[in-house]
């Protein structure tokens, strides 16, 4: 099976998922992002003309503030022209199909698409459809993948922990419905993290989660023991009642990250969260705002990582 993300020379053609991407490509994106960090940090003029004259279309079929904004900033720092489309409020509601929307934007000479969609596989479908000179970045498709989030998480881990090969990482929360978790797992295992744990009640785990190369825990006090990195996941509001979980309160009691639970991890463990956080549901404020939290640096790194992805795809990294 051809990897739809790579061209015939093995270079990144689209970024659709962290699954199946060779470690050298992941590392190269992280290195490029690091170079962008040093270029942009502390400078008055943050723009670099790498993507000057390129048109990047942010097409979001599902609402998002943070991800769309960081993509927009990243593209603008690379001097690209950016167009933001919230399709949820336009074409799709008029009955236009996904690929018709894409065709129309191609006719406007788009060079790159940043796509978010509520259905798993939407970015793959677009990537298969567009002309070979157009690049697609998956900004989140259903429950499947959110590769730039995972890459910025890897950047954050490398920033604080330097290496991957000696780490124990725990991902906590709604693994079943999480595109972030899937992308994190593939990125972590590809980069050589020897022990990746997932911690969740059985109703929030996909069947055969262990086949993804992770160790499964249901008890947070066991799962957090001696980990170097704690990656919390957002619990969607609609999961908090009904037949998946009985209540937000009970969830917080058993799976929320509190100071008491965090002491089980290594003393220098870092705490991450892809945002937006539900304080008092999956994470206690004292931890979110505490000394071990790297949640805000994640956002900053996110811009550099997205710049790195865009420039890599454009072949100008």
């Amino acid at each position: 099976m051809n990897n739809p993300q790579l061209n015939k020379h093995g270079e990144l053609q689209h970024l659709l998922s962290t699954e199946g991407l060779p470690a050298p490509i992941l590392r190269s994106i992280l290195d490029t992002a690091a170079s962008f960090m040093s270029v942009t940090e502390g400078r008055d003029i943050k723009k670099i003309p790498l993507l000057h004259g390129k048109s990047i279309f942010n097409i979001f079929f599902e609402s998002s503030t943070r991800t769309r904004t960081t993509f927009e900033i990243a593209a603008k720092r690379l001097s690209a022209d950016v167009v933001n489309l919230n399709i949820g409020s336009s074409s799709a509601s008029k009955g236009e199909t996904l690929l018709d929307t894409v065709d129309n934007l191609c006719a406007m000479h788009a060079d790159m698409f940043v796509v978010r969609h509520s259905q798993s596989g939407a970015a793959h479908l677009i990537a298969k459809h567009v002309a070979p000179e157009i690049h697609v970045i998956n900004a989140g498709d259903g429950r499947h993948a959110h590769p730039t989030q995972a890459l910025l998480d890897m950047f954050t881990i490398r920033h604080y922990k330097k290496e991957f090969h000696n780490l124990r990482v725990a991902i906590v929360g709604d693994i079943l419905h999480s595109r972030v978790a899937r992308s994190q797992i593939h990125a972590l295992t590809t980069l050589g993290v020897p022990e990746v744990r997932v911690i969740a009640p059985k109703t929030l785990l996909p069947s055969g989660a262990d086949k993804l190369g992770v160790q499964v825990y249901h008890d947070m006090t066991q799962g957090l023991r001696d980990v170097d990195v704690v990656m919390m996941l957002r619990l969607q509001n609609e999961r908090m009642q009904g037949a998946v979980l009985p209540s937000a309160q009970e969830y917080f009691k058993y799976y929320g990250l509190t100071r008491e639970k965090l002491v089980l991890a290594k003393t220098d463990a870092i705490v991450m969260h892809p945002g937006p956080m539900n304080r008092g549901v999956e994470i206690d404020s004292s931890v979110a705002d505490g000394t071990q939290s790297v949640i805000l640096p994640q956002v900053t790194f996110g811009i550099a990582v997205r710049m790195a992805v865009m420039s890599t795809l454009a072949g100008v990294g």
């Binding site: 199909t97 798993s120 596989g121 479908l125 259903g142 429950r143 899937r182 996909p206 055969g208 993804l212």
Partner: protein, 427 residues
């Protein structure tokens, strides 16, 4: 009209014929096998040298999309596809729009099909009005109009009391009830087998117990009511095991599997190939192996095409939004031959799964070439390879997971009632 099909390798599973025999047809019926009857003068001679002469195929599940979905397929296009696939009789499920729940609709469909003069259409009537699972249909009237069985198609029947009553009523008249086991609560918005691939791709999943739980309900109710039960499109190892046990215990039970599921598994979804969005979902490789064993030991009686034409637009969508189904009429024969080859079975064993066995399930005296039988005949080249290409398919449905694959076995001639209704252009 006298027809002689000569020099062919005749395979008739019912009569256990498997060798070089000529076939003689007069007035739409088989009049002799082997040597010509006295005074027989052939008006048409078909040279079947190097070809297999077999009973016309019988497909237990082919959606013709009429009435209601003519933009996806028409009776004309699908009947052309059927005979091009060597199929001479097909059962069509009742999930048309409106569903086949009134005698008038059934008569209209049969009339339209008869006018086209291609394959014989045997409608399966709706078990409940509008397939809604609440009120029984007029089964006896529907049977008089031509329905050969009663089914819910893919609509689930959650009310077990209604299901029991429907079975009791059908059993009163000796009608058989065809059901596809699927618990609607466990299925809900699922689109793929609850396994490795759905986990990896983040696709809403359907667990195997959605099939096995529904199946145990059906088997128990069939036992209670004494109805003749036919299980459609079994997909899992657990399901096959239940059917096997129920048959061993003497339940009047038959079972079919779709040709897609005989050869594919969840792995074939690859990177979200919407052609592999099927109902039931493609399951694990272990389940597929169990389907093979079920076919071998007779737990599964028949292979069907589960032909479901879907237009391209409905497939050009993200996996879960893409409409489920695949075209299949023209692939039933090669896919069945492929199973027989892979299982080291004689061609005749493969053909039985798509001729004699489905005829028995339908309760028809068909699927064989005995003297006196209707001359429904399929003449095919069992060796030749051909590539499945959308444009070359006669069906209006161009989507199948087998697009681009090479399959072995191609129909050259199809006769229905002694009339040549299809001839392969390349021969």
């Amino acid at each position: 009209m006298n027809i002689q099909i000569k020099n062919g390798h005749l395979i008739d599973p019912k009569n256990q014929i498997d060798g070089l025999r000529d076939l003689f047809i007069t007035a739409g019926k088989v009049v002799a096998v082997g040597s010509a009857p006295e005074d027989f003068v052939a008006q048409q001679v078909i040279d079947a040298t190097g070809l297999v002469v077999a009973p016309g195929l019988i497909d237990l599940a082919a959606r013709l999309r009429e009435p209601g979905y003519e933009y996806r397929a028409t009776l004309e296009s699908e009947m052309d596809a059927a005979v091009a696939g060597g199929i001479t009789t097909l059962a069509c499920p009742p999930d048309t729009d409106p569903p086949l729940d009134e005698p008038g609709l059934v008569e209209m469909l049969k009339h339209r099909a008869r006018e086209l003069n291609k394959a014989r259409v045997r409608p399966v009537g709706a078990l409940t009005r509008g397939l809604k699972g609440v009120e029984l249909t007029e089964m006896a009237e529907l049977a008089d109009a031509g329905c050969i069985a009663f089914s819910q198609a893919d609509a689930t029947l959650t009310d077990t009391r209604v299901l029991m009553r429907a079975m009791q009523y059908a059993a009163t008249f000796g009608f058989s009830v065809w059901l596809r086991p699927q618990d609607s609560f466990l299925t809900r918005d699922g689109v793929a087998h609850d396994g490795e691939v759905a986990t990896r791709l983040g696709l809403p999943a359907i667990p195997v117990c959605a099939e096995t739980i529904a199946l145990s309900t059906m088997l128990q109710l069939a036992h209670e009511t004494g109805v003749r039960l036919h299980i459609c499109r079994i997909s899992s190892a657990g399901g096959v095991a239940q059917v096997r046990t129920a048959k061993q215990q003497g339940l009047a039970l038959t079972c079919d599997v779709s040709a897609n599921h005989v050869h594919l598994s969840e792995m074939d979804i690859g990177f979200f190939d919407a052609n592999c969005h099927l109902v039931p979902p493609l399951r694990s490789q272990r389940d597929r192996d169990a389907l093979h064993s079920g076919l071998l030991d007779g737990s599964i009686d028949a292979i069907c095409s589960d032909h479901t034409p879907v237009d391209d637009d409905a497939k050009q969508l993200p996996f879960a939004e893409a409409e489920a189904g695949a075209t299949g009429l023209e692939l039933l024969l090669p896919l069945t031959l492929k199973w027989a080859r892979q299982s080291h079975r004689a061609l005749s064993d493969g053909l039985a799964k798509i001729t004699l066995q489905p005829a028995l399930i339908l309760g028809l005296d068909a699927g064989h070439l005995s003297v006196g039988a209707a001359a429904d005949v399929c003449v095919f080249d069992p060796e030749v390879y051909w590539k499945v290409e959308s444009a070359a398919l006669k069906s209006q449905g161009k989507n199948t997971p087998f697009i681009g694959m090479e399959l072995q076995g191609r129909v050259h001639f199809t006769f229905v009632g002694g009339q040549l209704v299809y001839q392969f252009k390349g021969c």
